[in-house]
């Protein structure tokens, strides 16, 4: 169905993919894995000709899709064969309500009205969108938007569906909805699906084969992931335990886990220290018009405590963080960092008390080089020159003259973190920090955050990251706290928030813990 014949793709003399020789068969769900920058997106975009027709660069070799050579067929001429859903579905929307968006590719293909009408109805049912048909796209939740984006690629009845990070921005529940829909396409319609995803623990179990980049090795999922630098916890656990064949789903792993479970002692109880409280909120509410985003949240966070805020998309996590930081809206309630309310401080003084790294950290950067950003951070906070640079060096190695836009997601996050930490805040708030980070980058982030003296509160959907990093978990639903306690307790008791290792081994949370115990 898709054949790459000795393909090499170069951007500005720098090869992104080299000598890729791969064939993906019809009706297969193929998972593309690799570290950030390994060329996953480039590979996906080469399938429908966006690389090199749209992105520029040189492609040597040949890409054949359903018998058509992408060298002679630009993406628009492949629209009837390949459906493509990019990383940010919202930015790719053309129409403004669900139905028109679904019909858009069919209009471009010039299908007759009756066919369009029928296919839109079918797609609405297939993806469970029927109740949303007239809704404006902007009012949908993340999971719904992702399903609309997939649906709008499907209406053209392509034989191949390419998905770039379809669940990265979604909460675990919504991600499952999307993946269930994708699986149905593969099973019921025999569609060929190619997926790249950082959250391997969500997708690996559904895949038929996996492709490891940049080596371009394709094979059975377990075998490929066992060799990969990025792998879901099940596979890493299998490496530690020496299981063979390597399981990719929790279910397979559990069958092999009996002996390991017997060998493991009870995990040591976490020492409960009495921490000096730094952040204290009392009955915080946030209202936007008629919508109550946060309803009476009272929390107390101690110095050095690592709190993870979890909950669905739209459960009020971001609103709470912004309200605590002081520049966001707060309808009622009190927030105290030490003895001061950050809302009453001037922005300059505020950032030395509370620092917030927003969902899009790049919004904080506006200068041309890393060095300028660091110098600016020093002047803003009145620290001696070089403070920010030293902090940054502790996180990652980045040359001084790089443009912040050219950094990888992980490096950019590190830069923003360094900029915010220059003010030595008492409280550090992070909104979805692990988006776009692969596993090694997440480990590095967890290491850095663990070394901080400030109280850290982070909002995230990433259960594996929470298991590795957080000491305490607070679950929000509809703006209220529904669970609050030590990470182990909260996370293991919930089927949605439980990390893979705990699903297999009960009280254990991470592979590293298991490895240490053995």
């Amino acid at each position: 169905m898709i054949r790459f014949e000795n393909v090499t793709i170069t951007y500005a003399e720098r090869p992104v993919l080299a000598n890729v020789d791969v064939e993906i068969c019809e009706g297969e769900l193929c998972l593309v894995v690799g570290r950030t920058g390994a060329g996953k997106s480039t590979f996906l975009r080469a399938i429908n000709g966006l690389v090199p027709h749209f992105s520029g660069g040189t492609l040597r070799g040949r890409v054949l899709v359903d018998g058509r050579d992408t060298a002679h067929h630009p993406p628009r001429e492949l629209a009837d064969v390949v459906g493509f859903v990019g990383q940010d579905p919202v930015a790719g929307f053309v129409a403004d309500n669900v139905e028109d968006e679904l019909a858009y590719s069919m209009e471009s293909l010039g299908l007759p009205g009756t066919v369009m009408r029928k296919r839109v109805e079918e797609t609405l049912d297939l993806l469970g969108l029927a109740a949303l048909r007239d809704r404006p796209l902007a009012t949908l939740s993340g999971g719904q938007q992702q399903r609309v984006a997939i649906g709008s690629a499907l209406t053209a009845h392509p034989r191949i569906l390419v998905l770039d990070e379809p669940t990265s921005a979604l909460d675990p529940g919504a991600a499952e909805d999307v993946l269930a829909a994708v699986q149905r396409l593969v099973h019921d319609l025999g569609m060929t699906v190619v997926i790249a995803e950082h959250r391997l623990e969500r997708v690996a179990q559904y895949a038929d084969r996996a492709l490891l980049l940049p080596q371009a090795e394709i094979g059975e999922v377990g075998a490929v992931l066992a060799k990969s630098p990025v792998a879901p916890p099940v596979v890493r656990l299998a490496r530690v335990a020496g299981w063979s064949p390597v399981p990719v789903s929790v279910r397979d792993a559990r069958r092999q886990a009996a002996s390991l479970r017997a060998r493991l002692p009870e995990p040591a109880a976490e020492p409960t220290e009495n921490l000096k409280p730094v952040l204290h909120t009392e009955n915080v509410t946030v209202k936007y018009g008629d919508v109550q985003a946060v309803r009476g949240v009272s929390l107390s966070v101690g110095a050095g405590e690592r709190v993870a805020l979890m909950g669905r998309n739209g459960s009020g996590k971001s609103s709470l963080l912004w309200a605590v930081q002081g520049s966001g809206k707060r309808t009622s309630g009190t927030v105290a960092v030490g003895t001061t309310d950050p809302e009453e401080l001037k922005p300059k003084a505020r950032r030395r008390k509370v620092a917030l790294v927003p969902q899009q950290p790049q919004d904080l950067l506006y200068l041309e080089t890393v060095a300028e950003e660091c110098a600016q951070a020093d002047t803003e906070t009145g620290r001696p020159p070089g403070t920010c640079r030293k902090l940054l060096d502790g996180l990652v190695q980045v040359p001084d003259d790089t443009h912040p836009r050219d950094l990888s997601e992980g490096q950019r996050l590190a830069l923003v973190l360094a900029v915010m930490l220059t003010g030595t805040p008492d409280v550090l708030l992070l909104d979805e920090p692990t988006r776009g980070l692969d596993h090694p980058a997440k480990e590095a982030l967890a290491g850095v955050l663990k070394g901080l003296d400030s109280a850290v509160v982070l909002a995230t959907h990433d259960v594996e990251f929470v298991a590795e990093y957080a000491s305490r978990v607070v679950v929000l639903a509809e703006g209220e706290v529904v669970a609050d306690g030590p990470a182990r307790e909260v996370v293991t008791s919930s089927p949605i928030f439980a990390p893979q290792v705990s699903k297999i081994l009960g009280p254990w949370l991470t592979v590293a813990d298991v490895e240490a115990a053995l």
Binding site: A91, G92, F93, S152, P347, R351, L364, Y366
Partner: protein, 343 residues
């Protein structure tokens, strides 16, 4: 079943034309009331249906501005001086321009009428906006103009996106404790906002490309050229016709007619060669035609009515009278209330 958006726009433009033919505050008030009533009863629950209020506020602002301009710059004079502002002496070459000076009741009333006229026209446009999505109207363009109409729709979403991205950058800037104002603030805002806008448009362009925008499958180059030529010729004819109409009525009508025929023919032939279709296009039903006609009749009645009460005298000041036939014609524009309620 929603009505053709073109029907609502014709109806509203008809009302606006009617308003444009009179300065009688009673008739203008009637037009305002009719438009308001129809908006309140007929609008669907859509994100853009709330825009009517914005247009009304904008109208009030226009009235205030018109009156203020009159007070400071003068204009129509009359015998009844209400008060006198100190006048700024201007050199002789600026004769005819006046700043300050006496303010008369006649002039004020005249300014008020004119402000009201502009506000009424604005409210008619606002009504059309609230009743029919302007983007939806673009979807009814001929198939030959498909690509252009999609481009315009996309362009229309840029402004709200820029506002949203500027807002998030400003919020982020506060996190850094950066409270810069003036030129520096513009620089610190502009770079991320523009970068964001560029990124977004690239993503959108890639997505549209991947979904078949600008596809030429199955059409030969010769046919594509022919289509392009025909469409361009048609539009060109239309432009010349419009120009002729504006320049001179006698030459204008035939030129416009020829241009129109050329345009329609070009678009028709062009459309046959463009492999595009529309999903659930708006249709001209009887009800839609009825709505459009009710507005157009109101316009025609006022354009061809010679009733002197349409422009009440301000020098000397007189209480405006209600001209019966034009008033009835404006009331006819209430027809959509009945038509839509039956649907």
């Amino acid at each position: 079943m929603r009505l053709h958006s073109g029907a609502w726009w014709l109806w509203a433009l008809g009302l606006a034309t009617a308003a444009g033919r009179t300065t009688n505050p009673l008739v203008l008030g009637l037009v305002l009331a009719v438009a308001g009533l129809v908006v309140v009863t007929c609008r669907a629950n859509t994100p853009w249906s709330g825009t009517y209020g914005v247009f009304l506020k904008f109208g009030l602002m226009v009235i205030a501005l018109r009156v203020l301009l009159h007070v400071f710059l003068g204009g129509t004079a009359g015998p009844t001086t209400l008060f006198t502002l100190p006048q700024v002496p201007l050199p002789t070459w600026a004769r005819g321009i006046r700043i300050g000076g006496p303010v008369t009741a006649e002039g004020l009333v005249f300014a008020l009428y004119q402000g009201l006229l502009l506000a009424t026209i604005l409210s008619c446009v606002g009504a059309a906006n609230a009743l029919a999505n302007p983007k939806r109207l673009l979807r009814s363009l001929p198939a030959a103009l498909y690509e252009v109409s999609v481009a315009v729709v996309v362009a229309l979403t840029v402004a709200p996106q820029l506002v949203a991205s500027a807002r998030s950058v400003r919020k982020a800037r506060q996190l850094r404790g950066d409270t810069a104002r003036g030129a520096r603030a513009i620089r610190t805002m502009l770079v991320p906002v523009l970068e964001d806008a560029l990124d977004r448009s690239l993503v959108l362009a890639a997505s549209m490309d991947a979904r078949g925008y600008g596809r030429t499958a199955g059409i030969s180059t010769r046919d594509r050229l022919l289509t392009g030529t025909l469409v361009l010729a048609g539009l060109f004819g239309f432009c010349i016709g419009t120009y002729g109409l504006l320049a001179d009525v006698c030459v204008g009508w035939p030129l416009l007619a020829i241009g129109g025929v050329l345009a329609v023919a070009g678009l028709r032939v062009g459309a046959r060669r463009v492999p595009r279709t529309r999903y659930r296009p708006d249709r001209w039903t009887f009800r839609a035609v009825g709505v459009a006609c009710s507005g157009m009749i109101a316009a025609a009645a006022l354009v061809f009515s010679g009733d002197p009460a349409l422009s009440p005298s301000t020098v000397p000041l007189q209480a405006p009278e209600l001209p019966v036939v034009p008033a009835l014609a404006v009331l006819l524009a209430l027809l959509p209330v009945v038509i839509v309620r039956e649907a």
